[in-house]
């Protein structure tokens, strides 16, 4: 993947707020990232860090109200997706950008058969006839590795196991040959062996179809195996971004470092005690004016309570939002 290629998707300064009774939740704050063609971008972060909200904001999939996308630009195909008219947006959704959701159990409509659900975007975006759509749907099912595709098209979601349902979701997302596929924790609800199957399938598909993928997960192991580049989110912000290898070798943000340490492994030496990150994730009640991680940070500086650190470039396509410079072991001088 050429480093300087024009990104297919370029997100700048995205802000999303939820209005709730008695206040607001600032779920996404000033998030910027880009996605190069053919690249697989991993997004990690703990639960509630704003991963899903970010992705759904891109395509206007959040219910408004309560959600409100306050600002930023999402450049895709030369257009700002936050400003285009409803028709263009719909054509983009499903047509040019595919979306796979976290929970395969509930993301399919239980009362329609799988074939119909796969054919729906085909007929809408590609203007296919019923027959053509059916043929393509069968191909798609075979593509995602569901045997006996002809038969299974007539089945209903409840007749599929979780792993197969997730494959169906992927088939739907891939239906119209999208340029970008956004997968929101597609394997979290699945077992390790099934997860391994899906990961394998994804890598294979990406190689064959050459699309760009955003893969959201909170499992660092998954990211390590599949992503080209990783974005780490915390408290509604991107706190670190780097090519995968670089990130695991050389984590810059204290949160990333802590995260890497807490995870036990099945191989290698076994620690007697697990590392932990003390404290709780922040409540995103208002526009942050300080570093969201400072309460749980072991290298917090005075400055962290006053200012929200910007993302500093540390070379190798790697940046981190921290006033503490891990390489020098002291405050960053700006």
């Amino acid at each position: 993947m050429p480093d300087g290629a024009q990104p297919v998707l370029d997100v700048r300064g995205l802000k999303t707020v939820f209005k709730i009774r008695g206040g607001e939740v600032h779920a996404v704050n000033d998030v910027s990232f880009d996605l190069k063609p053919g690249e697989l971008l991993g997004v990690v972060g703990e639960s509630g860090s704003g991963k899903s909200v970010t992705m759904m904001s891109l395509l206007g999939l959040l219910p408004t109200p309560p959600a409100d996308v306050r600002g930023g630009t999402v450049m895709f195909d030369g257009q700002d997706l936050l400003k285009v008219d409803a028709e263009t947006l719909r054509a983009t959704r499903g047509g040019k950008i595919g979306f796979v959701f976290q929970d395969p159990m509930t993301s399919l409509n239980p009362v329609y058969n799988v074939g119909m659900q796969i054919m729906e975007p085909l007929r809408k975006h590609m203007g296919m006839s019923k027959r053509a759509a059916a043929v393509r749907a069968k191909e798609l099912l075979e593509l995602v590795g569901i045997p006996d595709a002809d038969q299974r098209l007539k089945d209903y979601p409840h007749q599929f196991s979780g792993g197969m349902r997730q494959r169906v979701m992927i088939a739907i997302a891939l239906a119209c040959d999208p340029k970008v596929l956004i997968a929101d924790e597609p394997t979290t609800a699945l077992d390790v062996t099934i997860q391994a199957q899906i990961l394998e399938l994804m890598k294979d598909l990406q190689d064959r179809l050459g699309m760009a993928v955003i893969w959201i997960t909170h499992d660092l192991g998954v990211v390590a195996g599949i992503a080209d580049r990783v974005v780490v989110m915390y408290g509604g912000q991107i706190v670190e971004q780097a090519p995968t290898r670089e990130l695991f070798k050389n984590p810059q943000h204290p949160y990333t470092r802590a995260l890497l340490k807490t995870v036990p492994r099945v191989t290698g030496t076994r620690d007697d005690r697990l590392e932990i990150i003390e404290g709780q994730p922040p409540i995103l009640g208002a526009q942050p004016t300080a570093c969201p991680f400072r309460d749980r940070c072991d290298v917090a500086l005075d400055r962290c309570a006053r200012e929200n650190p910007p993302r500093y470039d540390v070379g190798n396509g790697h940046d981190a939002a921290c006033f503490f410079d891990a390489r020098t072991g002291g405050p960053r001088d700006v």
Binding site: I20, R21, Q280, I283
Partner: protein, 304 residues
């Protein structure tokens, strides 16, 4: 998670919870207005007669069929009885019927629902019983019951109490089934919830299990049934009056007053208006109250 300092020394759990409920309830505008109006109505019909002390049965033949005047703000009926006093007397009956019948139906429904949902052995039996009651045609049954027991009851409890008991029972035992079904469904689902399993692993006895874990968690459907129940009971009573099987004609209830007044709709439109408004607004306020209460009783919504 902010550390609000909460006094842990001896804070009374129950009061604490109801306090929260109230705080949440307050945020629901419709519910507060509904509750306010309902309290107003209840006060008006129960306390009102002490202030407006005209006897609702007192006949003033000279003052028959009057429109609203200072002496009779709601006018008078065809015998010259004061409509305001009759509205208050009628409201006492209607609201009591509504509340009691609802309470009875809820009690039966919850009892059957909880027992059926909780004890697998009697589930089949109780559900067949519920089906049976559901398949009994209600209005006819009600009519037959009223026909059947009106006399014995009014002779042993007096005509008014007798018929009150009868109507409340009739409405109550013919309308508990939906509640039972809903509650059973919820209990079955609850039984699969881990906290019930947790309580079992502790060795909690069935009685306490039901009181502590099951009942509080089926509160919301019960609350909704309750608010609908009051409304249905008031309306059913008036339908019975219409069919000539409710309270005797000389005994005012809102339904009865409304029914009597429909004949006079053209001559004295205000006479249908009072009971009509009273019934509608009561039902409306109770429903809004129910909405708010359902939210308020749910700690998850409360906590947001």
């Amino acid at each position: 998670m902010t550390d609000q300092s909460i006094d842990t020394r001896d804070s009374d759990v129950a009061r604490n919870q109801w306090w929260d409920v109230w705080d949440q309830f307050k945020t629901h505008k419709g519910a507060v207005m509904g509750a306010g109006f309902f309290i107003f109505i209840v006060l008006a019909v129960y306390v009102g007669p002490y202030i407006w002390s005209i006897d609702p049965t007192y006949i003033d033949v000279r003052a028959r069929n009057q429109g609203p005047t200072w002496a009779h703000p709601f006018g008078t009926d065809q015998l010259g009885r004061d409509m305001l006093a009759r509205m208050m007397a009628g409201g006492q009956t209607s609201i009591s019927v509504g509340l009691t019948a609802m309470a009875l139906a809820l009690f039966l429904g919850t009892l059957v629902g909880v027992l059926a949902g909780y004890f697998k052995r009697i589930d089949g039996l109780l559900m067949r019983l519920t089906d049976l009651f559901l398949a009994l045609p209600l209005l006819p049954l009600l009519l037959v019951m009223v026909m059947l027991f009106r006399q014995p009851l009014s002779s042993s409890f007096g005509p008014e109490t007798g018929i009150f008991i009868l109507i409340v029972t009739a409405i109550g035992i013919t309308s508990w089934m939906p509640t039972a079904r809903i509650v059973r469904g919820d209990v079955l689902a609850l039984k699969e919830r881990e906290f019930v399993l947790a309580a079992r692993s502790i060795g909690t006895r069935p009685g306490r299990m039901i009181l502590r874990h099951v009942l509080p968690n089926v509160m919301s459907p019960i609350m909704v049934s309750a608010t609908l129940g009051i409304a249905t009971a008031i309306i059913t009573e008036s339908a019975l009056s219409f069919l000539g099987l409710g309270f005797p004609p000389d005994f005012p209830t809102w339904g009865r007053l409304l029914f009597d007044a429909t004949d006079f709709m053209q001559q004295h439109p205000e006479r249908v208006m009072w009971p009509g408004l009273a019934i509608s607004l009561t039902v409306l306020s109770v429903n809004y109250m129910g909405d708010g209460l359902r939210d308020a009783l749910d700690p998850r919504i409360r906590g947001l």
